[in-house]
Symmetry: C2
Subunit: 403 residues, 2 copies
């Protein structure tokens, strides 16, 4: 008998009508003689309301209590789902993390699921029951509730799928799958039927909002097939799986673009060994994430120009840190806030030469200037003017036959 | 070192400002080198909102899920209180029923606390911490959450006080104590300083809303001093304690009156052994609570009139049941919906003769007609026309020197 893990996000259970709809989806799987486990997020809005309450109580609300407070959201939605399934004639019950248990480790509000003891769940599944499991939370070795960060319910679903040895994990959300590029930005974007973990990881890291990179990484490590689907319309979604199962003659799978990037160039840095480290160490200490980095070749062996990108919100802080850096001698600092990173992603590029050339050629044909380039095995990213992102996505989408 | 249990009701923690106020009250006790345990209800409105959600999901919502759903209310309020106490510099944490544990037995939504394992709480108290404990709920031997009925948080507080061997249990609520009679109905009502468990039990059963009879009974059985106080104004409240500690020369402690009573008389019932049982058995089966009962002496040995009172809301159902009762032969059924029960309560009446006479005399002086009488060791109740209740309470309040 097949075992499925179904995960429903906050908007999927956002009100009582949606909870009823979700229960119909669950019931349909159950009728097909499938073992079904359900993971639910809190009803949308509930978590934010609880966060606001905590802020009113304290601007530095204690993390363990924060987790206890937020955990009530999933507890309530799971009880409502189980109650509804009972009402329409199915055997179902809610399971909180501490009842299973889902054991977590690490700090409050940023815990990780360590393991799941599935014995009781397995017995319940064998008896024909549908367990409704609280996402986003665990219980630690002090018997206290923890939460595992934003999108933690996805992580719960993947870990449950791993420990229960599920055949598939279906993530129900408010979009109907992963697209070749953001459909709100480019109307010819197409839904991707299958995508490899690595491609999805790049897509997620590069701006696609469908799944968090850490969840994709978890799925990859545990080799769990994930299907991303909409709980609002009944359509097939996107399967995220191992690259051996995603073979196609498509070279590029998708195109991502970011917003709110900023570029900094330090002109005329005195070139000496360890100079890059002395620039980036204080930034890293201040939790500023540096993305693309380019260092020009030092022609005279004495001075060089260093360019890197960060999130625009970190720009002021970064400027301050560089200016205060006494180990650093340079001529000029220059900034550009209106830049974006556009990336093409696809495992197909490993075996296909000339992709970089085709990308640059296509951008040049639309007079798009490339500021910085960075590449990995399965992606090429370019930094361009933010104003040209739409044009760039369109020309690349056509060039790599995604239309 | 003194150990106190403080219980805060829903209105006392009804919003964030009130939670902050409650934390000041707790902090004041803690500063006096007292061990303090706190029991909290859900923020007012939260429980009703959850109940409404369950009703939208199912008109017959499964009881175990109902308990799981409702339990989130206290979990959230306890986390907020603990978070606030941390913020103002106190060591505090929330404790859910399953973490302590508070072990319950009996059906979901109507469970009873069986015992409390206080070892961890005691260790925490010794370390100077303030435990904030979820009221109203327990965990059963199947490791599932249960709730213990309306006013269950009072029961939690009393059981905690018992197991932790507290010196006193203080119930913070939205009234500032127990009054000689309802102050909204009679402006000369006075706050009672001390009242015995038995008197409080009668008061609670007879319409005083301050505490549920079951909670008073629990306190009596475990000999726990309870103080009822307001969390809104800083005034001494009412101490509920053993009768040996409440001695005064007051004969009557308080006067209660009920609303929504109805009187039924079955005229000309064929008198035979067991006739009363055959009338009341089907009513009891249908969960209709019969209060006062009077059977006139059967003069001719053949027929009798039977009068009893019920809640007005049960009147139609009762009428139907009596009419369908084939074992019953009678001449006429008569109803009176506009009746109320007025009671005088006081341990002093045990040792003071003539109280009944004084009560009847006082009522007669105001031309108040007594329809039914019932008495116990420490109370006398009379059924009168609902229109005369105010007048009756006033004359009795004066007669027994409560003004």
């Amino acid at each position: 008998m097949k075992t499925l893990v179904l995960k429903f996000g906050g908007t999927s259970v956002g009100n009582i009508d949606r909870i009823k709809k979700v229960c119909k989806i669950i019931a349909n799987y159950k009728k097909k003689k499938t073992k079904v486990l359900v993971i639910s997020s809190a009803m949308s809005g509930v978590t934010n309301d609880l966060i606001n309450k905590s802020k009113l109580v304290s601007n530095n609300f204690e993390k363990a209590e924060y987790d206890t407070l937020l955990s009530t959201g999933e507890q309530a939605s799971c009880a409502l789902i189980a109650g509804r399934l009972n009402h329409i004639g199915f055997k179902s019950r809610s399971w909180m993390s501490w009842q299973i248990p889902i054991i977590s480790e690490g700090p409050h509000s940023g815990a990780r699921i360590n393991r799941v003891i599935v014995k009781n769940l397995n017995d319940y599944l064998k008896s024909g029951g549908i367990p409704i499991i609280t996402g986003f939370q665990g219980v630690n070795n002090k018997f206290r509730l923890t939460t595992i960060g934003r999108s933690g319910s996805d992580a719960t679903a993947i870990m449950l799928a791993r420990y229960i040895k599920a055949d598939e994990c279906i993530i129900y959300t408010d979009v109907d799958g992963v697209y070749t590029t953001d459909p709100r930005q480019y109307k010819n974007a197409k839904k991707i039927k299958k995508i490899s973990y690595d491609e999805m990881l790049e897509m997620a890291s590069l701006g696609s909002k469908v799944m968090q990179p850490t969840s994709v990484q978890d799925a990859k490590l545990n080799n769990i097939d994930i299907q991303v689907k909409s709980s609002f319309i009944n359509k097939s979604g996107t399967l995220i799986t191992g690259s051996s199962k995603t073979f196609s003659n498509q070279i590029i799978t998708g195109i991502s673009s970011t917003k709110n990037d900023a570029k900094i160039t330090i002109v005329g840095v005195k070139d000496r060994p360890g100079i890059a480290a002395s620039i980036f160490k204080p930034l890293s200490k201040n939790l500023i994430n540096v993305d693309m980095v380019v260092q020009n070749i030092s022609l005279n062996g004495k001075e060089t120009d260093l360019t890197f990108t960060i999130k625009s919100e970190d720009l002021k802080k970064t400027e301050k840190i560089i200016k205060q850096n006494k180990k650093l001698s340079y001529k000029k600092l220059s900034f550009d806030k209106d830049v974006s990173k556009v990336s093409i992603i696809g495992v197909g590029m490993i075996s296909t030469p000339g992709i970089t050339y085709r990308m640059f050629q296509a951008l040049a044909s639309k007079k798009i200037n490339i500021l910085v380039i960075s590449t990995s095995e399965i992606k090429i990213s370019v930094l361009i003017s933010a104003k040209q992102v739409k044009k760039a996505v369109a020309v690349l989408h056509k060039e790599f036959k995604l239309d």
